[in-house]
Symmetry: C2
Subunit: 641 residues, 2 copies
């Protein structure tokens, strides 16, 4: 009997001891970080509302109870009963019975009403039918990403269970090492922006945190070619943790599976879906630009199959000696500050990922309270001495003014924007401004991936800022569903119509005018002196966006009918820039994050910023808070214990 | 054709171009770091005394010329001619002809007389017989280690040539990496003494520097179990560099071959022989103490087979982007400060290994002049604030006094000493003191490995202090051959005779009274109140030596007939301690090494010392010289470029 078998036997005995005599436990297994308890008496189990919580706290494990497949009622009967229990307003759109695990997945427009107060409705379902209900939200805006991911996971259910069982045994294996240590190896994004990647290692465990690409240097990934970098190869990693879905953090996650990785990817549920969306787009763009993509779309599916979603605040065992907790990072949907508790009180490390310290319209500010933390690995994008940004209120006022001026001129407003994050922030500003009459009501056309990204946002309102969430949940006012917003899904024809039609705002990718539908929009309205282009995000050196910002007016532009011929367009639009909509904390925000952090860490590694930003921030934190600070280079290893 | 083949073709063409028309070049091959040129006209080659030097400087390679096997004269003829050329006083003891390479190995008591002024005699030999002569010294004291190593290498000659050819191609392979970096990973001996090991890595190359064990924690080698530690496994290493033969630097070198390493070990010739002696003894001691040795003696032979000896000052290519130069370290025979020149002027790192800054009787002080050096990795054994040692003159005066006092009491003088280094230092002091009449003449008995270690010292007088070398070479006064010295090779019987006989000094291992023949000597003379025990080296906490030093007089001691019974002996000898014979620089010496270093490095990593010593030294160097200094932990990685 392996040590894990023995452990499970012991757990089964302990659980049998703990539950009332009339509840029999037929099996106990690991599925990823969870302990799944199979019982012949699921209904009795559900009667004691507190039993699972008591078990979890006694065993110090996350526990799921499922009915023994032998005692399941027939799905057709169960369906009728479930529909009776759930109030109609919950808007159930699908019931999916899985006899192998006794689970029924309930998709509903309002999951809260399926769950009930403190889970009472869920328990009622189990009491009546024995099945274990799981609830997911019906996307209020149809999202092909969400439905693809869900269908794919449904289809791969069986393999996924095997994977989770294997991972579970891995997590709960016995610790082997005699020595204890805690080390961080920097693989990317040190003294540079892009290709975030770190290995957190103990004597027992190696965890990769993020695995991104470098914009402008795609595919050049020196660290993946250094044999020792990933702990002697991807197959030696125990876990991958993804802080958020942006490509400079996620793009090379699927590549790991090509390199032999076969373990879990811990991330939030929206991060999983956004990663799917963005990595597939990454492959598309590579193909369009004639670059060999580093992996195939099959590997994206592999990655999604290995995702284990974790919610903010849940303490999760991810290795015998490591517990992971995610906290809101305020940067994009699902972005997480990742806190690692190592050993039994040995050490604590927090990786900030990308953070926004102050509240934005979309998100609460980043969490910086932890039970303990000795070392912080911190982003420094705007860590430079003078990297102060316009505050959001000013930025919004400026945007309102710019749009009003543009409107008076009678033309269109063209806003290049990144699909994930800043687009939704701008949508919220525009929706409120129109609703409150600060700007004239007019259509807002969303082009490129923006609509799809917005649909994913509406699927996970739990991850949005609390007052926004409240509006959606309690007041039924989902601003993303406002009538102003129109999805451009009719291609060039629809764009032509919009261009020829009434005054409107167009939000389109790519955010730096380096490709995508924004190029079409330039052709349609670029030469119209009555129209205005408004930049709301950072334009990197070398991009067309930056050139336009700098006043270039001869724009090389491919003919709309393709064929490789390239014309020059004379740019006659007004060009405006509104700063202050970044997803990143500015210098002040970064300093405040540390100033108010509780507890204050002893050491800070300043990463994810160019050389000057990381060194400036490192030096400022040292002088202001007298902590040990570092601006590491890539491929260094720090030992903390 | 591989890139190495092409390179060799080009070199052959270039050499053919350079040499006179009547010299034909039949083949050009790599053997380890050397380029071997085979010619059909070895005699003509030898006529131009400067030709090889010109070629070497033009091609920037170490060059050896050998006769094409087809043109070799018969060994019997050659032997007669060679014996005619070499003066009789050279004391030739063996001629060994190797027809496969056209080499003749000449073993002689006085190699200098075989070489002749600026190599004139060697050239004369080639001019006469065509064969390429190689000279080795006949050990003035018979050394089983030296003769075993030589015989073994003779016997493995063919395999060794294959190994060298493979290594040569590896060294001269094309550089593949686009990026350039220089990193050092600390594997052992950081904030501790013992198990020295570092990996120096570039994008192309991984070099292990030392691979020692930790005394008192033998076999516990956490770093070898960290998969990324050795650059993802021993088989990924390109080269191993051994700074000196002490077990805390060398003990686990043979283990590498068990782990799949198959590359070169660069060290000086005496380090190779001493490593053989000490690692075999290490296996013996493990077996005697009932520990499972980490490898078998076969692996020691593997290690010796892969040694590539390098002399002080020779710049040697050991990888496409790394040149290694050894310099005298003053610590023990063959000990080397190892200087690495990386890339084409990219970076320079020096590893001090263990050093003695001031001259001792045996060795010149450590070299600290380099063409360039940006980072120094420096030992800190006596780096602590108060780690000042008695200077050697005082120490010698004290030893003389102690021996005179002991002599007056009429008993024996028992000196526990390490076989390698300190024993020979004490021998030199005693020899001079007796010769000059400062102490009475009496026999000095050498027990344990001391005699053998001394024999190895006499085999390599080039590595000794210059005035000592001059005495040996020019005045024919080898102090190690003095009549006072007697090798205890008659076991217990001889010891009993000595104990019962006239007044004498006994130098015996082990140096900390933890086993070995010193235990017998304790039984023989320990309870004699007229005898004196003199400690001349550091006694670690927990050793019997330390206890005796502290005044314990009830000594547990195994019965001489074994059988596991253990008795207690009452110690009645006088116990004295004479400080100042360390092989390590003291605090002042370490500071002076850096103060007078040329050029002064930018960064210093203080290693090979306990936590306090490394931190004290690091802080002192920072404050005094305003350099960046570190006291790393094990398993950290520093990046310099």
């Amino acid at each position: 009997m392996s040590s894990v078998e023995r452990q499970l036997e012991d757990l089964k005995a302990e659980i049998t001891d703990e539950v009332p005599d009339d509840i029999s436990i037929s099996d106990v297994r690991y599925e990823g970080p969870e302990l799944v308890v199979y019982t012949r008496h699921p209904k009795k189990f559900a009667q004691d509302g507190d039993l699972i919580r008591r078990l979890a706290s006694k065993l110090r494990k996350r526990i799921t109870v499922r009915p023994d497949p032998d005692v399941l009622s027939r799905p057709s009967e169960a369906r009728a009963e479930i529909e009776e229990v759930i109030p109609e307003e919950a808007g159930v759109t699908d019931l999916d019975f899985h006899a192998d695990t006794g689970e029924v997945v309930i998709e509903a427009a309002k999951p809260g009403m399926v769950i009930g107060r403190h889970g009472s409705t869920l328990r009622e379902i189990t009491k009546r039918v024995g099945w274990t209900p799981e609830v997911v939200r019906t996307p209020p805006i149809e999202s092909s990403t969400v439905s693809n991911v869900r269908n794919f996971l449904k289809q791969e259910r069986e393999e996924r269970r095997d994977i989770l069982e294997r991972i579970g045994r891995q997590i709960h294996r016995r610790q082997m090492a005699d020595e204890q240590w805690v080390r961080i190896t920097t693989l990317g994004c040190c003294r540079e922006v892009g290709r975030a990647a770190f290995v957190l290692s103990t004597a027992d465990t190696r965890i990769l945190i993020d695995c991104g690409d470098k914009p402008g240097a795609e595919g050049e990934v020196p660290y993946l070619q250094v044999p020792e970098a990933l702990g002697a190869g991807a197959s030696n990693l125990d876990a991958v943790v993804l802080t958020h879905a942006h490509l400079d953090h996620s793009a090379l996650i699927p590549l790991l599976f090509k390199y032999g990785y076969d373990g879990p990817i811990y991330c939030t549920e929206p991060t999983r879906d956004l990663m799917g969306l963005l990595t597939l787009d990454y492959l598309d763009v590579a193909a369009k630009e004639g670059r060999a993509p580093p992996y195939e779309s099959e590997m994206v599916r592999e990655a999604i199959k290995h995702c284990i979603p974790i919610e903010y605040g849940d303490v999760t065992d991810i290795a015998p000696d490591v517990k992971l907790t995610f906290h809101n990072a305020g940067h994009i949907l699902g972005s997480a500050v990742s806190h690692f508790h190592i050993g039994d009180g040995l050490y604590n490390v927090a990786f900030s990922g990308d953070i926004h310290y102050d509240d934005t319209r979309l998100f609460n500010g980043a969490v910086n309270e932890f039970p303990r933390v000795e070392t912080l690995v911190m982003e420094s994008t705007y860590g430079g001495r003078n990297d102060y940004q316009t505050d959001q209120e000013d930025a919004e006022r400026q945007l309102v003014n710019v749009i009003n001026e543009a409107h008076e001129k009678g033309g269109k407003v063209l806003i290049p924007a990144f699909a994930v994050g800043r687009s939704q922030e701008i949508m919220l500003v525009l929706e409120e401004a129109m609703r409150k009459g600060k700007i004239p009501e007019m259509p807002v056309h969303l082009d490129g991936m923006i609509w799809e990204a917005t649909a994913i946002h509406t699927t996970y309102p739990e991850y949005l800022r609390d007052d926004l969430r409240d509006r959606i949940f309690h007041d039924d006012e989902n601003p993303f569903l406002a009538d102003y917003f129109n999805h451009i899904d009719g291609g060039e024809e629809e764009r032509q119509e919009v261009a020829d039609g009434e005054q409107a705002i167009v939000l389109s990718t790519s955010g730096m005018v380096t490709g995508g539908p924004i190029m079409s929009w330039l052709r349609h309205v670029g030469s119209d002196p009555d129209s205005t282009m408004v930049f709301v995000g950072y334009q990197a050196q070398g991009t067309l966006g930056r050139r336009i910002q700098n006043g270039w007016d001869e724009i090389p532009i491919n003919d709309r009918n393709g064929g490789g011929r390239s014309n020059t367009m004379t740019m006659k639009m007004d060009v405006k820039t509104v700063d202050g909509f970044s997803g990143h904390a500015d210098r002040q925000g970064l300093m405040n994050f540390v100033r108010t952090m509780n507890p204050r860490p002893e050491k800070v590694l300043c990463v994810h910023g160019d050389e000057k930003s990381t060194q400036d921030l490192s030096s400022a934190l040292y002088h202001e808070f007298n902590m040990r600070t570092f601006a590491p280079k890539n491929l260094e290893t720090f030992r903390f214990k």
